[in-house]
C-alpha cells in the first residue's frame, strides 16, 4: 500500500511540477484524437448515406417481346432462385405505362392503347449483403442466360463510382488513423522522455537506494495511460456536445455508440501506456 501511495504521489508530482508539459501533452493528444473523431463521424455519416442509397438500388429485367405469358411463371421462379435476390416484382406493360404516366405527369402513349410499345419487366430487389458491383454483375450474367430475358439494366456506373468513393474514404481514414497513432505515440513518448530527463538524477539516486525499475517507471506509465484516456474522452465529449448544439436538417450525423467510445478511450489509454513505455524504455533496460 505504501509503495502504491508513493507511486500515485509521484504521478501527482509529475503532473503538478511540470504542468506545462502535462497540459501540452494533453492538449496535443486531444487535438489529434478530435481530428480522428471528426473523421470517424464523417465516415460513419457517409457510410449511412451510402447504405441508404444502395438500399434503393434495383435491377430491371426486361422480358423479350416474343415470350408467351405461359412462360412468365417459370421465368419468375428462375429469377427468385438467384442467390441474393430478395423480391421479384412483375411489371406488366399496363403497369409500366401507369408508372411512366405518374412519373411524367402525362400519358405519352395516348393513341397506342392497342399496341403498347413498353415491354413487361421484372424488378429485382436484393439482400443488403449483395448490393455490390461483384454480386450485381454475377446476377446480371445469370439473368441474361435465362430464357425469355431480353435486357438487364441497373445503375452499374453509379455503383462503381460509389464503391470507389467509399474505398477512398476508407483508405484516407486508415492512413489518417495510422498517422494520428504515430504522432500521438511520438508526441506523448517524447513528453515523458523529457520529463524523465529532468528527473534523471533523482531517479538514478533512487535506484542506488534499491528502487526497482518498474517502481520508478510506473508513475510515468500511469501518466501516459491517464493522458491518453483523458484526451480521448475530452475529444468525444466535445463531439457529443457539438452534436447536441448543432442541428443538421439535410442529414443526420452518425456518432459511435457509448460502448464504442468507451472502447476507443480504453484503446487511447493503451496507446498512452505504450508511449509511456517508449518514453522510459531506456530506464527499464
Amino acid at each position: 500500500m505504501c509503495r502504491v501511495n508513493h507511486i500515485l504521489k509521484e504521478l501527482g508530482h509529475n503532473l503538478y511540477r511540470n504542468p506545462a508539459t502535462a497540459l501540452g501533452s494533453l492538449m496535443s493528444l486531444t487535438l489529434l484524437f478530435l481530428l480522428f473523431d471528426l473523421f470517424w463521424v464523417a465516415a460513419g455519416t457517409s457510410e449511412r448515406f451510402y447504405t441508404r442509397l444502395l438500399a434503393d438500388m434495383q435491377m430491371e429485367v426486361f422480358v423479350a417481346e416474343e415470350t408467351p405469358e405461359s412462360s412468365l411463371a417459370a421465368l419468375n421462379r428462375s429469377l427468385e432462385a438467384i442467390e441474393g435476390v430478395r423480391v421479384v416484382e412483375f411489371i406488366s406493360r399496363e403497369m409500366a405505362r401507369e408508372r411512366l404516366t405518374s412519373m411524367l405527369g402525362a400519358d405519352l402513349l395516348v393513341g397506342y392503347d392497342t399496341a403498347n410499345p413498353l415491354p413487361s419487366s421484372y424488378v429485382l430487389s436484393f439482400e443488403p449483403g449483395y448490393l455490390n458491383s461483384a454480386d450485381m454483375a454475377r446476377v446480371e450474367n445469370e439473368t441474361a442466360y435465362i430464357a425469355g430475358v431480353d435486357q438487364v439494366y441497373y445503375s452499374k456506373r453509379w455503383l462503381a463510382k460509389a464503391e470507389q468513393t467509399r474505398t477512398i474514404i476508407l483508405n484516407v481514414g486508415m492512413a489518417l488513423g495510422i498517422l494520428i497513432l504515430l504522432t500521438a505515440l511520438t508526441s506523448s513518448a517524447n513528453n515523458i522522455r523529457l520529463m524523465i530527463q529532468t528527473r534523471a538524477v533523482g531517479l538514478w539516486r533512487m535506484r542506488i537506494l534499491g528502487a526497482g525499475r518498474l517502481f520508478l517507471a510506473t508513475p510515468f506509465l500511469l501518466e501516459g495511460l491517464l493522458v491518453g484516456g483523458l484526451s480521448a474522452g475530452i475529444g468525444w465529449a466535445a463531439i457529443f456536445y457539438a452534436r447536441q448544439e448543432i442541428t443538421f436538417t439535410q442529414f443526420e450525423l452518425v456518432t459511435p455508440s457509448l460502448q464504442e467510445v468507451g472502447i476507443f478511450c480504453a484503446a487511447a489509454s493503451l496507446l498512452g501506456l505504450t508511449s509511456g513505455y517508449l518514453g522510459i524504455r531506456k530506464m527499464l533496460r
Binding site: R3, V201, M206, I208, A211
Partner: protein, 224 residues
C-alpha cells in the same frame, strides 16, 4: 540464518574505463557488527569501492560478496535487494532533488513497505535527532551543506539497515556538526550495525569495533 560477513571482497581486480588499474588484488572483510574505516587521498579509489558495493561497477576478477551473496553483473534482483540493505551518505548517495527533506528521509521505509504509523514515528524521531524539523518541507537545492549531510544521515539511519556506507562524512562540516557526526558514528559502531567509512582523514575519535585501513594506488593495507 545469521549473516557471517557483511562485506567480503576477495582479490578484486578492477580497471577504469580508460584501462588504467584501479584495484589490484584488493581484499576487505567486514564481519557483522564490525566497521571499517578506509582512508586515502583523493583519487585513490574510495568512491569506486562504494560503486563496487552497490553494483555500479563489477570486478574483472575476484569476488564481491555482500551479506554472504556474490554480486555479479546481470543479477539485477540481488543487486536491488542488496542496495536496500545499505544506508548511504555522501558520494553516490545524494538526495533526490524533487523530494522534500521528509520524503528523502522516508524513502528507505517506502521501499521497505513499512506501515504508515511506523513511518511517521521514525520520521519524527530522525528529524528530531538530526535537527531537521524546520527543514522537513524544504527541497535539497535550498539546503545548506550541513543540512544536506544531516538529511543523508537521517535517511541512512531511518530503516536500520545492517550496513552503513559513508563516503567522506566529515568533509566541509563546521566544528559543532563535526563533533555531532563523530558522536553519531561512535554510537552506530557500538550499536552492532556495520559501517564502511571512506574518508581522506580518519575521524579524530576512535570508533569502537572498527578496523582501520589505508587505500593508495589501488592497494589496501590494514593500519590498525
Amino acid at each position: 540464518m545469521a549473516v557471517k560477513s557483511i562485506v567480503e571482497l576477495n582479490n578484486v581486480h578492477l580497471k577504469s574505463d580508460r584501462g588504467e588499474k584501479v584495484f589490484e588484488d584488493l581484499s576487505l572483510r567486514i564481519e557483522a557488527g564490525r566497521s571499517a574505516v578506509v582512508t586515502g587521498p583523493a583519487g585513490s579509489g574510495k568512491t569506486i569501492l562504494v560503486e563496487l558495493l552497490v553494483g555500479l561497477r563489477f570486478a574483472e576478477s575476484g569476488s564481491v560478496e555482500l551479506f554472504d551473496e556474490c554480486l555479479r553483473r546481470g543479477r539485477k534482483s540481488l543487486i536491488r535487494r542488496t542496495r536496500r540493505k545499505i544506508g548511504g551518505v555522501g558520494g553516490v548517495y545524494g538526495l533526490v532533488p524533487s523530494f522534500t527533506v521528509a520524503e528523502n528521509v522516508l524513502f528507505p521505509l517506502v521501499l521497505a513497505g513499512e506501515r504508515r504509523r511506523i513511518r511517521r514515528e521514525r520520521l519524527l524521531r530522525m528529524l528530531t535527532e538530526f535537527s531537521l524539523l524546520k527543514q522537513a518541507r524544504e527541497y535539497p537545492p535550498t539546503l545548506t551543506r550541513v543540512e544536506y549531510t544531516l538529511t543523508q544521515f537521517a535517511r541512512a539511519s531511518i530503516a536500520n539497515q545492517p550496513l552503513l556506507v559513508i563516503d567522506e562524512p566529515l568533509a566541509g562540516l563546521d566544528a559543532t556538526t563535526y563533533g555531532r557526526i563523530t558522536e553519531y558514528l561512535v554510537k552506530v559502531s557500538q550499536s552492532g550495525r556495520s559501517m564502511l567509512i571512506l574518508a581522506s582523514d580518519a575521524p579524530d575519535r576512535e570508533l569502537p569495533n572498527s578496523d582501520y585501513y589505508r587505500i593508495d594506488k589501488g592497494a589496501l593495507s590494514c593500519v590498525g
